[in-house]
Amino acid sequence: MTLLRVEDLDCRYGLLQAVRGVSFEVAQGETVALIGANGAGKSTLLRAIAGAHRPHGGRVVFDGADVTSMPAHRHVSLGVALVPEGRRLFPSLTVEENLRVAEARRGRWNVQSVLEVFPLLQPRRHMAAANLSGGEQQAVAIGRALMSNPRVLLLDEVSLGLAPIVVDAVYRSLAGIISEGTTVLLVEQDLARALKVAGRVICVLEGRIVLEGEAASLDRDQVVNAYFGLKRPA
């Protein structure tokens, strides 16, 4: 069953066109990775799906409903949650307050269950988010998105700026979340990691989809070519 459908999406920043006629679908329970070089339009695509960037053209359909022009907070209440690039926590709020402000839909996730998945946050619960380490902040950012009990979780570069060992820990927690059936669409720079965690991969180059397929069926050279646009389809 298709949960999320993107139809011929165009996103612009003034004259700059970041996303050009992108269409794809994400089925319920799937894990899809968007990969591509810096500036390929991946983050803009995620932000448009989350309602934080108003597309110039095309549609975003979530669970059969056109959500293209809804404000971002309405997307959250429908079940679309984005973990934004750079974490974007509320620095003066404590860990618990950062989580509590994002409570939305009823479901499996609450402060207690988020702290169970990210036990490193337990002792930091009443500490201001500004005083956390990068890995702890990323855990709060993911936890904050989970608090709305999303049906689709959008992850934008969750490994950015973190030590490899911390990235491992974050992905271990994510694997648990994915295995529970949460639909995930993630942007990841680390190709190997993206191919490992995702069932399907979509390669984006200069705002267009250039390669799409099952992660298992794609070989690394194909993906690298698509990533850098070495062999462009004529």
Binding site: F90, S92, E97, V101
Partner: protein
């Protein structure tokens, strides 16, 4: 003893300035808007109370409670119409928009109420005139104590609201990063509208105190704005407790200045304001700090 008296009277005067400044501080803290119509909104609040007192004969304090819903709705509408649009076009536009709003409010008040000077001091009853003679050189007015207590309660309640309630956290989250707040499911427009409604309601409280402790006319707003703005800056922009302390400091500076020479009252306040500007904002960053 005269200096002690000047300081005590200054604290009462300063509490009034703090109430006036509170809404200005909220709007700057949450939305980064410097509302140049804030003084006029306070005066508008005074006129709303005045009309209710005139038509029903109730006490100004009861009339203020009746006026509150009107001011809250006004705040919502103000945010969702004028301020929200102006916020989208950069930081200078809200300044121009609220400057225009200030002129509109003044002229509408002039048309409706004429330039006559009004006061609600008489209608407020004995509270305006009663006082306690503590010593021969020091007397404490009942109204001064009422304003001081109300100021402390208002600031304390706001502090609790922002640090203990979920809506308060959501408001702070929106103030810190409106885009991320939307992504966390917070209706940032709604939060902004609530913040403005709160600011306008507290401005009306300032207007009520202005009307009771002295006189007002349709053009009183800008003077109130200057004192409120000075209180906000002295206390540190975006810092709520700082605004209360800033108001008190401004009040004390004015009464102590007046002690030297009655002509120096406003001047002493302006000098304190300038001194703080030079010392603190010699190139510093402004952020929303809320004591936890």
């Amino acid at each position: 003893m005269t200096i002690v008296n000047a300081i005590v009277q200054g604290i009462f005067l300063g509490a009034f300035y703090a109430v006036l400044a509170c809404g200005l501080s909220i709007m700057f803290g949450v939305m980064r808007i410097i509302n140049l119509a804030h003084g006029d909104i306070a005066v508008l609040g005074a006129y709303v109370v005045f009309v209710i007192v005139q038509s029903t004969g109730m006490s100004p304090f009861a009339a203020f409670i009746a006026a509150l819903p009107v001011m809250i709705v006004l705040g919502y509408v103000l945010q969702l119409t004028i301020l929200e649009r102006s916020l989208k076009s950069g930081i200078l536009t809200p300044l121009l928009a609220t400057f225009g709003l200030s002129i509109v409010i003044q002229n509408l008040l002039l048309i409706r109420f004429s330039p006559d000077v009004r006061s609600l001091g008489g209608e407020a009853g004995a509270i305006t005139t009663s006082s306690w003679q503590v010593t021969s050189g020091l007397s404490v007015s009942a109204l001064g104590i009422v304003i001081l207590v109300v100021a402390v309660v208002v600031f304390g309640a706001l502090q609790l609201f922002l640090s203990r309630t979920r809506i308060g956290w959501m408001m702070r989250a929106t103030a810190e990063d409106a885009d991320a707040a939307e992504l966390a499911g917070i209706d940032s427009r709604g939060m902004y509208a609530r913040a403005t409604a709160l600011a306008v309601a507290i401005a009306a409280l300032g207007g009520l105190f202005l009307a009771i402790r002295s006189v007002f006319d349709p053009l009183s707003g800008p003077t109130q704005l200057i004192f409120a703005f000075e209180a906000v800056v002295i206390g540190g922009m975006g810092n709520l407790w700082g605004t209360l302390l800033g108001g008190l400091a401004l009040g004390v500076a004015q009464t102590v200045g007046a002690q030297v020479n009655p002509e120096y009252s406003a001047l002493a306040g302006h000098l304190l304001f300038l001194a703080v500007l030079v010392l603190r904002y010699g190139g510093g960053r402004v952020s929303l700090r809320l004591a936890r």
